[in-house]
């Protein structure tokens, strides 16, 4: 029976919440921004695109200040162990705010969204809500909180995907996304409930302790881990939970595609690492670890399958967005390589790789949007001869693609270098995965180079040959992303060091 808590209990709960709120400022601030955006939209009516975008960017940039202030705080868990503040989480907060800013920047230039007649009010609000949700995904330490934050992200994402209401492809994508999402959320929840059933705990640290102390049923545990992996794999876009991604990526407005492919994938990885490193840790030295759940072997298979499937299937794609969708499946595979090592070097590598992915993938999508604005198409064939007509954009896109392949001197190469270093540092144990990784990256060269091939090596058939002008602002953003991609390819020390500093998870013991 439910009992009314006494006054003193309520008092203590309130004071705990108050105490925790001090560690929760960026999230509170961004939630306020979310509401401000909705109100602004209501007040200003439909001629508010510029204003909303400005407020969103200003608001997101402002949140960096609060995140920065958190860096001085000690690592802690609060809200009854629901939520944590640690360097790992702070890294992802920066990451998600950065991707949110980039998402707004890509949205502003997109012609398709510009023409959207029913306004952009909810769009920016949803974008910000997704940033909050992803931050919470990266920092939650409780199964319930994890599920809630993931739903917050998913629901915002469904709405964003279907934002172009009149566009059948967009609505179709949203529906597919929703159906797949609902199934995976269900699986995730099922997995969580199994774990709760075994341990009677929802906090991941306590789950780990309970599992170690009381033992568990192997079969149930494997089942639970598989189900949870299905839920997270859906967010990460890894094989075999990837089926939604090509269609959704193709159908969604391109800025949303970019946002999903980078930020929501990263959030999936953050949650995966936190859950598995803390709740069910497993060292490779099986005798030393109390738990013998072989989730690593499963992850290895998922990773290998993602790298092979994503890279191979991408070869036959004719649509650039679809091509990048398959490539993003492959990148999930590479990222998983860093998770599998389960050590600090691997975590550091994942963080570096994600940072690189943020820059290069956003860069690629940014140029794809600019090109689509001009040509109205995302088909490979329509890229013919574009290199001559838009010199800066062509060069920038080539740099981003080279970075996605992982060739020096780009940031993407550093990401691959770190990932493979983490693998090889473990000795010959993971050599086969490293081999799959590098061989599939050779395959990836082929399809990524299809884009420069069409841009530079082939001439367009239609008569229009003049130089295509793009706005100064768009040029500036493209050039900065390109320069950053190259710069961090040569001088990656600050980011790599920060990633190292951030590879500390609350309650996880990484060797």
């Amino acid at each position: 029976m439910f009992e009314m808590p006494s006054g003193a209990e309520i008092q203590s709960i309130i004071s705990i919440l108050k105490g925790g709120a001090g560690y929760f400022v960026p999230e509170i601030y961004l939630s306020a921004l979310f509401m401000v955006l909705i109100l602004l939209d209501l007040i200003t009516g439909k001629k508010n695109r510029g204003l909303l975008a400005t407020v969103s960017i200003a608001g997101l940039v402002g949140s960096l200040f609060f995140i920065f202030k958190q860096q001085a705080m000690p690592d802690t868990q609060f809200f009854f162990g629901m939520y944590s503040l640690d360097r790992f989480g702070i890294f992802f907060k920066y990451f998600f705010v950065a991707s949110g800013i980039l998402a707004v920047l890509t949205t502003v230039i997109d012609d398709q969204l510009k023409k959207h007649e029913s306004g952009m009010g909810e769009y920016y609000a949803l974008l910000v809500a997704m940033v909050v949700g992803m931050m919470m995904m990266a920092s939650s330490t409780d199964l319930l909180m994890m599920f809630l934050s993931m739903e917050l992200v998913s629901l915002s994402a469904y709405a964003l995907t279907g934002y172009l209401k009149r566009e059948p492809r967009s609505s179709e994508a949203a529906l597919k996304y929703l159906v797949y999402g609902a199934v995976s959320s269900g699986m995730l929840l099922y997995g969580f409930s199994l774990i709760y059933g075994m341990t009677a705990e929802t906090n991941i640290t306590r789950i780990s302790m309970a599992l170690a102390a009381h033992g568990y049923d192997q079969l149930v545990m494997i089942l639970a881990v598989l189900l949870i992996m299905a839920g997270l794999g859906y967010k990460m876009g890894a094989v075999p939970f990837h089926f939604w991604s090509p269609d959704v990526y193709e159908g969604a407005p391109t800025p949303v595609t970019a946002y999903l492919s980078v930020a929501s994938k990263a959030a999936g990885f953050a949650m995966l690492m936190r859950f598995f490193f803390v709740a069910v840790p497993q060292g490779f030295d099986v005798s030393a670890s109390a738990l013998h759940i072989d989730w690593l072997s499963i992850l290895m298979l998922v990773s290998a399958a993602s790298m092979i499937y994503g890279n191979v299937v991408a070869i036959w794609q004719k649509n650039v967005k679809r091509l990048l969708a398959y490539s993003s499946i492959a990148h999930a595979g590479y990222l998983l390589l860093g998770v599998i090592t389960m050590d600090q070097l691997g975590t550091q590598a994942v963080l570096v790789y994600l940072s690189a992915y943020l820059l290069m993938n956003y860069g690629a999508f940014y140029v794809v949007i600019l090109i689509a604005n001009r040509t109205g198409s995302e088909n490979l064939d329509d890229y013919r001869g574009l290199g001559k007509r838009m010199p800066l954009l062509g060069a920038a896109l080539t740099v981003f693609l080279i970075s996605l392949v992982g060739l020096p001197p780009t940031f993407g190469f550093i990401g691959k270098l770190m990932i493979f270093s983490a693998l090889i540092a473990k000795g010959s144990l993971f050599m086969w995965l490293a081999l799959i990784g590098i061989l599939t990256s050779v395959i990836s060269l082929y399809y990524y180079m299809l884009i420069p091939l069409n841009m530079y090596l082939r001439d367009s058939e239609n008569a229009e040959q003049g130089v295509m002008e793009t706005g100064m602002g768009a040029k500036l953003v493209t050039a900065s992303l390109m320069i950053l991609t190259l710069w961090f390819g040569l001088f990656f020390q600050p980011i790599a060091n920060y990633a190292k500093y951030s590879s500390v998870l609350f309650g996880a013991f990484l060797n």
Binding site: F420, I424, I438, L453
Partner: protein
């Protein structure tokens, strides 16, 4: 000094970026000045170079300065990797006997390449920016002594090369360009894994940290026991050697990884063929000498026979393929494969004579093949055809051209008095004196015969005999019985013009001079090669273990 020679082309490229693309002549001149600047610095380096210093490994005590020259060492990246200690990447440049000749060759070929690019009319600005990027990457590869830096330069070559073949190439350029890219990338990704593995296995004795320094890696005493590529991990050391070897062999290119080369050559514009044959292929064998062999000397010793066999296959198979070609450029491409086989054979001999021959052959191959491709380019510019059987009797109306062709052709087939002879002779002396390679050397000699066959045969068909009017001009006989010659696409005189002579004559002079008096190059390399042989020798290794 070395930084300047490496980055001068990039500076030229940045200047070109600022020049409007309509100013073609300015763009060309800036590139030429950059390349000449590189040449001047190369000569200065050459004058300062002390041929008595050995290089290859650090001087006793671990100091680099006592062994390498013109060292530039700046810490580049320093990361904390937790339990693996700091990750240190250095910007480390230096030259020794292995690289000095390659630096000279690269500078020379770069200048010639710019001159040869003068006729490029399509997208001149983009062309020269990529060309300069390529020039920087090539030079960087030869002077980098840090594996990471080497790898960055190595991969940096691929993209410009892809576009240079792909945009300015012949009709089948898309295929050739991506084939080149995929083949070389396939080789180099394995290099990445080996590089990381080596990093975790080697300790710099001076700092006590892991290092990417190739000099530290070349000393077997610096390897950690139990590490993935440590001295006791025999299996992985063999695997690492083999994948590195394949990576470099693709660049050489060694049979059976050679198929990209004829395609790339046939499609590439003349200057790019010159660069490809003159410098890029050398990077494969240079990589073997600098990285592959000294880092895994025991595997190298075990694999001599195999390397020699592949060398012999290259020599003979390349010659046979050349014999069968109808396209002159393809013939030269296969002859280039055949001649790189001599380098492999010399490397497999594992003695001073063979190694000196191999390194000298690398230099000579650079000058001779560059000249061959330039000459092919000359005839293609005029006739828009390279089919051997379309020509005949060229000697009668292109005498100067024919004279230079004879120099290049004979140098290529190894006529005494020309530089190719000396290096091939050294290779054979080395290969005969080593018991392992002796039987293979005997077979390889056949390659010289076939080489003479295809070269002389093509010479005879194209330059001697009856004129064939189809390729270069139409012959009309009017009503009065007078002959009128109508040239195709060619105004006035057929023989070489001043620009072509400036490219070809210096190469011919070098080829003849080094054939008579090889010491300017030989003298530079001998000390280092002796040191390399010593580092690779089984005795030196048993002292370590």
């Amino acid at each position: 000094m070395l930084s300047l020679i490496v980055f001068l082309p990039i500076i030229a490229g940045l200047i070109i970026l600022a020049v409007p693309s309509s100013q073609k002549q300015i763009i060309r001149i800036v590139s030429l000045l950059g390349a000449i600047g590189q040449g001047v610095i190369a000569v200065l380096i050459w004058r300062q170079y002390d041929p008595t210093m050995a290089g290859i490994v650090a001087a006793p005590g671990g100091s680099l300065a006592g062994s390498f020259q013109m060292i530039e060492r700046v810490p580049w990246i320093s990361l904390d990797l937790g339990s693996f200690g700091p990750l240190n990447i250095e910007y480390l440049l230096g030259v020794d006997g292995l690289s000095i000749t390659m630096v000279l060759l690269t500078a020379l070929i770069s200048i010639i390449g710019v001159l040869s690019s003068w006729t490029i009319q399509k997208q001149v600005k983009g062309y020269f920016i990529l060309y300069n990027l390529l020039a920087t990457a090539m030079m960087g590869c030869f002077v980098a002594l840090d594996f990471f830096l080497f790898y960055v330069f190595w991969e940096l070559m691929l993209l410009p090369m892809y576009f240079l073949i792909g945009i300015w190439g012949g009709p089948n350029r898309e295929y050739a360009a991506i084939k080149f890219f995929l083949y070389t990338l396939f080789g180099s990704v394995f290099m990445l894994l080996v590089m990381i593995g080596l990093y975790f296995s080697v300790i710099d004795p001076l700092t006590g940290h892991h290092t990417f320094s190739l000099v530290a890696m070349a000393d077997q005493a610096n390897y950690i026991k139990g590490a993935i590529l440590g001295p006791d991990n025999v299996t992985w050391r063999y695997v690492a050697f083999i994948v590195l070897f394949v990576g470099f062999a693709i660049k050489v290119p060694m049979f059976p990884f050679h198929t990209w080369l004829p395609d790339a050559h046939v499609e590439a514009p003349t200057p790019i063929s010159v660069i490809l044959a003159g410098v890029l292929l050398k990077l494969g064998t240079y990589g073997m000498m600098r990285i592959n062999f000294p880092l895994f000397p025991e595997v190298y010793q075990a694999g001599l026979y195999v390397i020699a066999v592949f060398g012999a296959i290259n020599i003979i198979y390349g010659a046979f393929c050349a014999l069968a070609q109808q396209d002159l450029k393809k013939m030269v491409a296969y002859s280039s494969i055949s001649h790189m086989g001599y380098v492999l054979l010399g490397l497999a001999a594992a003695n001073s004579e063979g190694m000196v021959g191999a390194l000298y052959q690398m230099f000579n191959h650079g000058t001779i093949t560059a000249m061959l491709f330039l000459l092919v380019g000359v005839i293609y510019d005029r006739a828009h055809s390279r089919q051997i059987d379309k020509f005949g009797g060229l000697a009668s109306y292109m005498p100067v051209y024919t004279g230079l062709v004879i120099v290049a052709w004979f140098a290529s087939l190894g006529l005494p008095g020309l530089s190719g002879f000396i290096s091939e002779a050294f290779v054979f002396v080395g290969a005969f004196s080593a018991p392992v390679t002796r039987p293979i050397a005997m077979v390889s000699v056949l390659g010289i015969v076939f080489g003479a066959a295809y070269l002389l045969w093509s010479l005879q068909r194209m330059f001697l005999g009856k004129r064939k009017p189809d390729a270069l001009y139409d012959l009309e006989v009017d009503a009065h019985g007078h002959e009128h010659i109508h040239f195709h696409d060619w105004k006035g005189k057929l023989d070489l013009d001043a620009r072509e002579l400036t490219m070809l004559v210096p190469l011919a002079v070098i080829i003849i001079a080094l054939g008579i008096y090889p010491m300017p190059v030989m003298g530079l390399i001998t000390t280092s090669v002796n040191k390399l042989v010593q580092v690779l020798a089984p005795v030196a290794m048993s002292a370590v273990h």
